[in-house]
């Protein structure tokens, strides 16, 4: 298929692997974090780790939006879905994420809550138009990739005068999270395989601060396997030469400034929160987005009096350590036993982009 097969060509892959083998220095350990779940998934699906030299260690980062949402926010979504007269619209991945006591949106649905799986927030708007007597709550999650559609939906709702459309906003910011990981010194990272879709929106310049502050090279990489291999090669060259810079491997989609239209749309309706809690990373200042006061009519957190929950992760669940790159999925006692994709105990096992699910599904 055009624009897909070219980036999965096995002959090119072999060449890239040969180049990587020829470039690595045996005395260096290359600890590379792929921030995004999309990369984690590609690495496992194409079994790339097996093909790389032993001294390249890929550390799976927290870039899986489903995985980083803390349990209390899931509980709040379940609470919203359970309110009288509410239709909660959600991307499919969120439905099975366990909240407190292993409750989930899919369980709420089986109890009678009206939870709808949508592929696009545009569908939630349509549902709002077709059900004027109901309150439609869109469970907005994700990094900068999914933020523009949410912003657009808010603008559309206002334009259409859709008073029954509300957004439960959980959008989070990538560069801030990267800085938070580096700030702790817990995990040693020599370079980042940088986000692809996120970077289309925010542009490669958006990582300049984190790269400079922490002196780490970043290669913005596409999600296809050849993109990942080429980006690893670039990182190795940068590390060998002790160069700290940002390379844009995904130049077919990412520009330095990003999608400025999308950025303007976001700036119109959303603003940075003082603080947002991340699963695994804890509370990070200025890491999440909320709806601006001018659009508060569409803000589920304003419209509903949503209770605060302070539920915790399942005790033995190592999601927090895995999301910080401190542990491998298979080092968790629950992995593959109590925690499987059918019965996930932690969020990393739910989404196909989660490190645990990818490892469970694909690793021999």
């Amino acid at each position: 298929m055009k624009y897909i097969d070219e980036f999965r060509n096995s002959a090119v892959a072999k060449k890239l692997i040969e180049q990587i083998n020829g470039t690595v220095k045996p005395e260096i350990n290359y600890r590379l974090m792929e921030f995004c779940g999309g990369h984690t998934h590609a690495i496992h699906r194409y079994a790339l780790s097996q093909l790389l030299p032993k001294n390249i260690k890929l550390i799976h980062g927290p870039g899986c939006p489903v995985c980083v949402l803390p349990i209390p926010r899931i509980d709040q979504a379940i609470w919203l879905a359970s309110q009288e007269n509410v239709i909660l619209c959600s991307y499919a991945d969120m439905l099975r994420v366990p909240g407190d006591h292993q409750d989930s949106l899919i369980k709420a649905k089986s109890r009678g809550a009206d939870v709808r799986i949508i592929y696009s927030v545009g569908d939630a708007l349509k549902i709002a138009q077709n059900n004027p007597e109901k309150i439609i709550v869109f469970f907005a999650i994700g990094f900068e990739t999914t933020t523009p559609p949410t912003a657009h939906a808010l603008l559309e709702a206002k334009r259409l005068g859709l008073t029954n459309f509300k957004v439960f906003c959980n959008h989070v910011l990538t560069p801030v999270a990267m800085a938070a990981i580096l700030h702790t010194d817990e995990v040693e990272i020599d370079g980042f395989i940088g986000p692809s879709h996120v970077s289309i929106v925010i542009g490669s310049d958006a990582y300049k601060k984190v790269s400079d502050d922490y002196q780490k090279p970043i290669v913005i990489a596409g999600f296809e396997p050849l993109d990942v291999l080429q980006s690893i090669l670039y990182l190795i060259e940068l590390i060998n030469n002790k160069k700290v810079t940002i390379i844009n491997q995904y130049s077919r989609a990412v520009s330095t400034a990003g999608n400025t239209n999308a950025q303007q749309m976001i700036a119109e309706v959303l603003e940075i929160r003082d603080e947002f809690s991340w699963r695994g990373l804890g509370a990070i200042p200025h890491s999440g987005l909320k709806i601006k006061a001018a659009y508060q009519d569409y803000d589920a957190e304003v419209y509903f009096n949503i209770p605060l929950f302070n539920s915790d992760d399942v005790k033995a669940c190592e999601c927090p350590q895995i999301l910080r790159g401190l542990k491998e999925p298979r080092e968790c006692k629950l992995f593959g036993k109590a925690c499987t994709p059918e019965h996930p105990m932690g969020a990393c096992m739910v989404s196909s982009e989660g490190a645990c699910a990818a490892s469970y599904q694909y690793t021999v």
Binding site: I4, K14, R45, P341, V364
Partner: protein, 338 residues
């Protein structure tokens, strides 16, 4: 009184009175026409059958009812025919149970019944007994169909689960067509596509393969859960280690495109006209050659090999030469696919 096909099904049709009689006579008996059904009893009395019997049942709840390449009627016949055929049986007789929601258009029912009649003719089976129930509006979703079937297994046919390392697994063509044909017609997913379901009766193709008298270990049609589900079932039930070859598994371009868009793995997506045959290594090539002569087997290929007969696992050699695990589908990627 003649049935007016512009009307909808109402509760009187399901009540067993005159309206039901009209429906039976003017639509169902007429379309499914055969001597056993014509007896109009509560049962079909069938001639003596010599040989072992294969017996199967399946309920069909596919949504939407009509899609490119088929409808609930053709699936309901072909699905049961295939379930019988993969045992090596020659499918003979089918029963049909309709559960219809009040308000369902009679013209749609006619389309479905005609499609079933056509599928039965093509698969060379007779629909010999049936039942129709109507449920109140809101208690069903248009139309559900159950079919059961009986087939006979020729004594000469030997399918023996006598596995050996090196055994091959063959498929008669591309994967994931049916699931993506359904997905692309789902409400809320407004994209146009030309993907057609692969829905087809496989008994003709399988009969030709079986006639070669090869050493077949097992056969199965990989429907819900896709290729990965059947291979995983075999691996865990028979304790086999199976390795799939990614570059031998055919996924059509249009199917691949929508799978990419929706983030689905074609390995997990349903098929309705595919058969997997595990056979002795030395018989694999001639089975593939035979299949390729048949319209439903033109793209047949060997897609996997048995690597272990003591340890249960499923892996895939990727196009890059890496080896990854192939897991079952988890969760409910595509509900009501058949």
């Amino acid at each position: 009184m003649k049935l007016n096909f512009k009307e909808n099904i109402d509760l009187t049709i399901g009540a067993g009175g005159r309206a039901m009689y009209q429906l039976l006579n003017q639509l169902i008996l007429k379309e499914f026409d055969n001597e056993f059904l014509a007896q109009q009893s509560d049962q079909a009395i069938l001639p003596e059958i010599k040989g072992r019997l294969a017996f199967s049942t399946d309920s069909y709840v596919v949504s939407p009812l009509f899609f490119n390449g088929g409808d609930i009627g053709s699936i309901a016949i072909n699905g049961t025919v295939n379930d019988l055929a993969v045992s090596g049986a020659k499918p003979l007789y089918i029963s049909v149970g309709f559960i219809i929601e009040e308000g369902f258009p009679l013209s749609d029912l006619r389309t479905v019944v005609q499609s079933m009649a056509k599928a039965a003719r093509e698969a060379n089976v007779l629909i010999v007994t049936g039942d129709t129930k109507v449920v109140e509006k809101g208690k069903g979703d248009g139309l559900f169909i159950n079919t059961s079937g009986v087939g006979v297994i020729n004594d000469a046919i030997k399918i023996v689960a006598n596995f050996k390392v090196g055994d091959k697994i063959i498929i008669n063509g591309s994967i994931a067509d049916h699931g993506m044909a359904i997905m692309s017609r789902r409400q809320g997913l407004d994209f146009a596509s030309d993907i057609a379901s692969d829905c087809a009766a496989l008994n003709g193709l399988i009969a030709e393969v079986v006639a070669l008298n090869p050493a077949i270990r097992c056969m199965r049609d990989p429907t819900r859960g896709g290729l990965s589900a059947t291979i995983n079932e075999w691996a865990s039930f028979y304790k086999l280690g199976i390795d799939l070859k990614e570059d031998q598994i055919l996924v059509h371009e249009n199917v691949k495109g929508i799978c990419e868009l929706l983030g689905l793995d074609p390995l997990h997506v349903a098929n309705e006209g595919k058969v997997l045959i595990m056979c002795a290594a030395e018989d694999a090539e001639r089975i593939v050659a035979k299949m390729r002569e048949h319209p439903l087997g033109k793209e047949a290929s060997i897609i996997a090999e048995v690597q272990s007969i003591s340890e249960s696992y499923v892996t895939m050699t990727t196009a890059f030469g890496g080896i990854r695990r192939v897991d079952w589908l988890s969760g409910e990627q595509l509900p009501r696919i058949c």
